[in-house]
Symmetry: C2
Subunit: 370 residues, 2 copies
DNA sequence: CATGGTTTGTTAGTCAAGCTTACGAACGCG
DNA sequence: CGCGTTCGTAAGCTTGACTAACAAACCATG
């Protein structure tokens, strides 16, 4: 049952775009195959597929790879493969405290070339020029056509890509698409860093159609994919769980309240508490933090019927007692039927998730692949 | 930014269906207007609109209402109105403990004719035949074409409309579409009762594109609309928050744990606790229950960036201290930026919500209107 | 080794559904 | 009373999917 309200008109050319995207998508996720295979996979006719393949081929997005290996009856199939280097995306990850990271990313999410630039604490226009410089260097470096610029930034980002607020960078109302668009004649797509990570997991790690990723770094944020779609929330604040209060009697937070999730699980606070506790009580401190996270996550898991939650953050903190305790807590708080199918896992400290997810912003908007 | 993975082919006829639905949708929500108005609203050309209008008119779905009142320059516009009685939906609400309620529902959600049948505690095949009988009577009563049968039932319902489990009715793996389809030559669409309520609020009460409705009756369940779409969850368990533990030291629950949300807020338990506490401590008991609900809801509000939460249940319980305390708790636990835009409200004891939402199951699937 | 069955990809033609262009009908206004 | 404006429709175009039919290339088989 698909219950989605119709809100805009449909034209034949939208149709074509959709089917083009469907073929690219199929080639990306299922690998090279023949036109006839594509027809069977997609439900389109061989004729239509041939036509679309010609179009995509003339744009260089796909390649003819020659006949299929192995013995089969009938005329040998000619394999068609996605040319993952037809375009590269200039991706920026602005979530780091110390450095902004940028990369050229291929269509399959491969990081082709990586650069970074120090920021340590720079904010406002300084941070903006650092990001611009990074993009400039990457565009210069690129050996193939650039499809666009994808930016994953901390903070709240609206539907147009304007950063409504990013306290760490002291940004408010920063129009990144305009700023970058003025210098580069390329489409620019911007999103929240945790949302980027969620998209990367969705597109490149088969995380499933419904899951939540929780980023534990300097702060704590979440990204949600529901029904194969990113959840942004009406005011674009979905995933902003850092200042959810998990312990009303906890330590004071910069936001003025006490016991925010960020106070309990964010890396700086957690490391400080571990230091104070000493090696002996390390596991217990981590388990306590995991339990607090579990209390915050359980209602979301139950309400959305989530089957997967992924934790991202420093492996030495996130994996082990922290994850185990969080998972056990969620299971113990949710109904057997709901919590049983739950897989909680750690994606380690994979900073490339944000980079590759930022590329998905662009790939999804420009080519329809994700 | 629309980030939704492409998963199936698009054909020209889907296009047509989509645009038909768009016109119906526009007429439903914005009222009668001329073909030219429809063209402006929808973005389609006047020619295309005229063609679609002819098609819809010949099916009796819309009516020509004559010229528009008032003086305007140019040729007078001929108003076109949705014929909300072109079809009726046979809707069943199986969520009651005492009685199943059924109704003939018009396209605009108006309840045209209502029937009910006692069940008090009947389960299994008995409950099923009661529901079938109700549908039979309603089909007999209908004076206009019946578009289909929509059923809102407690429990977990899969994508095909099969009731995977509904403990109250002692149902497991009950294929309602098949059972009803065998007797009635009509499309049958089945969903969870809380989801039906959510759809009714979405379609007929402008509840917005993202919100959660919490049904507090014999149990406690939630329905979620995210991005104008109903959230079902991978295992169709979204909204099953009744056995979320909100108080690990609370009273034992039938599920074997302690302090489930249902133990705290469900009507029978809440009434019993009020009885024991006496009139004097009534407000305090209600506030306590509201607070517990708030603790469960806050993480969901933060994670999804929700701007609206609606409580449904007996007005004497839900409105007042319960709602106030729940709202205050959610606000106090979520970040200012997130919680500030939050509207928590009570829809009272509007049992028709489930009936009308069950009609939306059918209207949405068959006509594309919601 | 010729023949037949199978699979692939293409060619030719059809159909559906949107679009643009153009026009008659009906109004208010000067 | 003519003029500009708006509405709805008619005619023809374009896009993009479809079906039907076919040539090419392979395997199997007598």
């Amino acid at each position: 049952m698909t219950l989605l309200r119709v809100t805009s008109k449909a034209l034949p050319e939208h149709n074509r775009r959709h089917n083009r995207a469907l073929l690219l998508q199929t080639l990306l996720h299922d690998g090279a195959m023949s036109r006839a295979d594509l027809a069977r996979e997609s439900g389109l006719t061989r004729v239509t597929v041939s036509d679309l393949v010609n179009e995509l081929s003339s744009e260089g997005l796909i390649d003819e790879l020659g006949p299929r290996e192995g013995a089969h009856v009938g005329k040998p199939a000619q394999l068609i493969g996605l040319n993952v280097n037809a375009y590269h995306v200039v991706s920026l990850d602005l979530s780091g405290d110390e450095r902004f990271v940028g990369a050229l990313v291929a269509i399959d999410g491969t990081v082709v070339h990586r650069l970074d630039a120090p920021v340590h604490g720079a904010t406002g226009d300084d941070a903006l020029s650092t990001a611009l410089g990074l993009a400039r260097d990457l565009v210069k470096r690129s050996t193939v056509r650039v499809l666009g610029i994808g930016i994953g930034t901390p903070g709240v980002v609206d539907g147009e890509g304007i950063v409504i607020s990013a306290p760490n960078l002291d940004w408010a109302g920063i129009d990144l698409p305009q700023t970058f668009g003025a210098e580069f004649d390329l489409p620019v797509h911007v999103g929240n860093d945790a949302n980027a990570a969620a998209l990367a997991l969705h597109s490149y790690h088969d995380a499933g159609p419904d899951f939540m990723v929780i980023e534990i770094e300097h702060g704590a944020g979440a990204g949600l994919i529901i029904g194969n779609a990113l959840v942004t929330g009406g005011a674009f604040t979905a995933g902003e769980i850092g200042h959810l209060v998990v312990d009303p009697d906890g330590e004071p937070c910069v936001c003025g309240r006490r016991g925010c999730l960020e106070q309990v699980v964010a890396v700086p606070h957690l490391r400080e508490r571990l230091r104070r506790a000493g090696a002996q009580r390390r596991a217990s401190v981590l388990a306590d933090a995991g339990r607090a996270l579990g209390y915050a996550v359980a209602p979301v898991v139950a309400a959305l019927g989530l089957e997967a939650v992924v934790l991202c953050g420093p492996a030495d903190l996130v994996e082990g007692p922290f994850l185990d305790s969080a998972a056990a807590t969620v299971r113990s708080l949710t109904l057997a039927g709901t919590g049983e199918g739950l897989t909680m896992s750690a994606a380690g400290d994979d900073h490339d998730l944000v980079l590759r997810g930022s590329a998905v912003f662009v790939l999804s908007a420009e080519l329809g692949v994700s």
